[in-house]
């Protein structure tokens, strides 16, 4: 997007296209552009460059977490449930998060809560071995709630202060699978530990990401979001609607398939990438 001097109809069109092409969605795009038009009519933005900057500020503002939020990882024993639909990158993200937090001084235990999919447990066990983290696991077909229960018991007994739980991929439309997730959440809550839910979203997802987020949040809540596969060409624009609706911030982004390919979320860099 060249920094134009004049604000023309073409420029408004280009801005709209950039947002739509990035999966920001029609509704959010229209609201943003309406706000910008109002500001422009009120005398703001003398040049195209200023308009573009105004848009980027509005976008970054949408991603700012509300004030007074509790930290994602308080100092007490915290159980992090990693959830999301099939194939978005949960298992890989669990390994990345465990590795990241372990390197920052936390005592991390992983829990292989995917007892359904072929090699769901084996996949995380290999990651755990690679990053030198212990991992609670069970036979395929076992009850994921039991794994979470055992992991919390192990954490208490052996002094771990973060348990990162991998769960099976599930479409939010499957009532029985969402109920299973509620049951897992209840087990965590009943243990009197700090429970956190991280929703994992694939950057290439379209508007269905908002439906996914709504469903998972209404079932078990969502404390933070991880957007994966931002090393692709998808820009992850659906995240604006998701964050706005859930009031949960993006905490990390996945930038590749290696365990170190995790970055703390930088909203300004994320927004700038939409216009790159």
């Amino acid at each position: 997007l060249l920094p134009r001097s004049e604000i023309t109809d073409d420029l408004w069109g280009e801005l709209e296209e950039t947002l739509i092409a990035a999966d920001v969605g029609v509704d959010t795009t229209e609201r943003l552009l309406e706000r910008l038009r109002a500001r422009h009519a009120a005398g703001e933005f003398g040049t195209g460059k200023e308009l573009s900057r105004g848009l980027q500020e509005e976008l970054a503002g949408l991603l700012r977490p509300p004030d007074g939020r509790e930290p994602l990882l308080p100092s007490d024993l915290t159980v992090v449930l990693t959830v999301g639909v099939n194939g978005v990158g949960k298992t890989t993200t669990v390994a990345k998060l465990g590795h990241h937090w372990s390197r920052s001084g936390r005592r991390v235990l992983l829990a292989a809560g995917d007892t359904f999919r072929a090699a769901g447990t084996e996949q995380l066990a290999i990651w755990a071995d690679r990053v030198g983290l212990p991992c609670v696991a069970a036979q395929r077909g076992g009850d994921p709630g039991a794994i979470v229960f055992d992991a919390i018991a192990a954490a208490r007994a052996r002094g771990f202060d973060v348990v990162v739980v991998d769960t099976a991929g599930r479409l939010h439309t499957k009532t029985n699978l969402m109920e299973e997730l509620r049951k897992i959440r209840r087990i965590v809550d009943r243990q009197g530990v700090v429970g956190r839910v991280i929703l994992v979203l694939d950057a290439a997802t379209g508007q269905n990401a908002v439906v996914q987020a709504r469903s998972f949040a209404s079932a078990i809540g969502t404390d933070a979001i991880v957007v994966t596969k931002l090393d692709g060409t998808a820009r992850g624009g659906m995240v604006f609607s998701v964050v706005r609706e859930l009031g949960a911030p993006v905490c990390f982004v996945g930038t590749g398939e290696k365990v170190g390919d995790l970055a703390e979320f930088d909203s300004e860099a994320f927004v700038a990438a939409l216009f790159a």
């Binding site: 099939n86 084996e122 439309t173 997802t205 379209g206 508007q207 596969k229 692709g232 820009r235």
Partner: protein, 290 residues
């Protein structure tokens, strides 16, 4: 639904039988919204609407007493025409027929490979699954477990590069009398030079009768770039859309079909090995239109 939104537009205009082109444009804006919300790529939407507009400003709409029905009918017909007929799986002139599955990370290739093998076996064929993903932790184990579950053989050779492995699998299948060889490849980005070269090499060494791009039904605007790149770099003969048992509208299917001209051959409708269906253009059309 789209027809309700269109009805509202035409009701507001209130003059049936004497519509003008601006009125049609107002209606087409609703269609544009519906398609964008369904994740159809915005460029595909634009060219699609040009086609629809060409028909919608004809007398069939302008002088119709039921313009809503007419516009919905045109949109429906044009979408069906674009999606095309369900493609059938090709067969090699002499066995085994090689089928390569490729696509982005997590799209459902490994699961689809197992489903396809089961589908072929139910048709009396003898498929061989090939574990051609040496990167993802437990990827080979995943396919082997699926193979055991279905009693379908899996060809795996740790330490052998994918292209050589696939070529060896074809030779093995030929001597064992298997009819189909299904390559489950690693997930890859369309912008990863090295990995795109890898699948181009697998293709070169095994000359598959089918190269199927496996794509997630919830993919958004990015679907076009992905499909174009795989088409250009490797060449694809068919599309597989997975996770259609969810509630994603599936507009990515329309975009990929439009930019590659390649038929949609199969759809994934669940996690179990029997959750594979032939694609029905009318069902996907209704789904995209919401």
């Amino acid at each position: 639904a789209l027809s309700d939104k269109l009805q509202r537009v035409f009701d507001q205009l209130g003059r049936k039988g004497k519509l003008n082109e601006q009125d049609v444009d107002r209606a087409l804006r609703e269609v544009r919204l519906a398609l964008l919300e369904a994740d159809v790529n915005f460029r595909v939407v634009r060219s699609f609407l040009d086609k629809v507009r060409g028909r919608a400003v004809g007398v069939e709409v302008l002088q119709s007493l039921t313009p809503t029905q007419q516009v919905v009918k045109i949109v429906h017909e044009e979408l069906m025409a674009l999606l095309g007929e369900a493609g059938r799986l090709a067969t090699a002139p002499s066995p085994p027929t090689a089928i390569m599955l490729l696509g982005l990370q997590g799209s459902g290739k490994t699961t689809t490979a197992a489903k396809l093998a089961l589908h072929l076996r139910k048709q009396g064929q003898r498929p061989l699954l090939v574990a051609a993903d040496p990167y993802r932790p437990a990827a080979v184990t995943q396919l082997e477990m699926l193979g055991r579950q279905l009693d379908i053989p899996v060809f795996a050779r740790p330490g052998v590069a994918p292209a050589a492995l696939c070529r060896d699998a074809v030779a093995e299948a030929r001597s064992a009398g298997q009819t189909h060889v299904i390559f489950d490849t690693a997930g890859r980005l369309h912008i990863d030079e090295q990995l795109m070269a890898e699948v181009a090499e697998i293709r070169q060494r095994t000359n598959p009768s089918e190269i199927l791009l496996v794509a997630d039904a919830m993919t958004g605007q990015d679907a076009v770039k992905v499909a174009e790149e795989f088409q250009q770099r490797v060449g694809i003969t068919g599309l597989v859309l997975t996770k259609l048992d969810g509630d994603a509208r599936g507009g990515a299917a329309l975009s990929m079909r439009d930019v590659t001209g390649v038929p949609i051959k199969l759809i994934g409708v669940g996690e179990r090995p029997d959750a594979l269906e032939l694609f029905h253009p009318d069902r996907l059309t209704s789904r995209i239109l919401g």
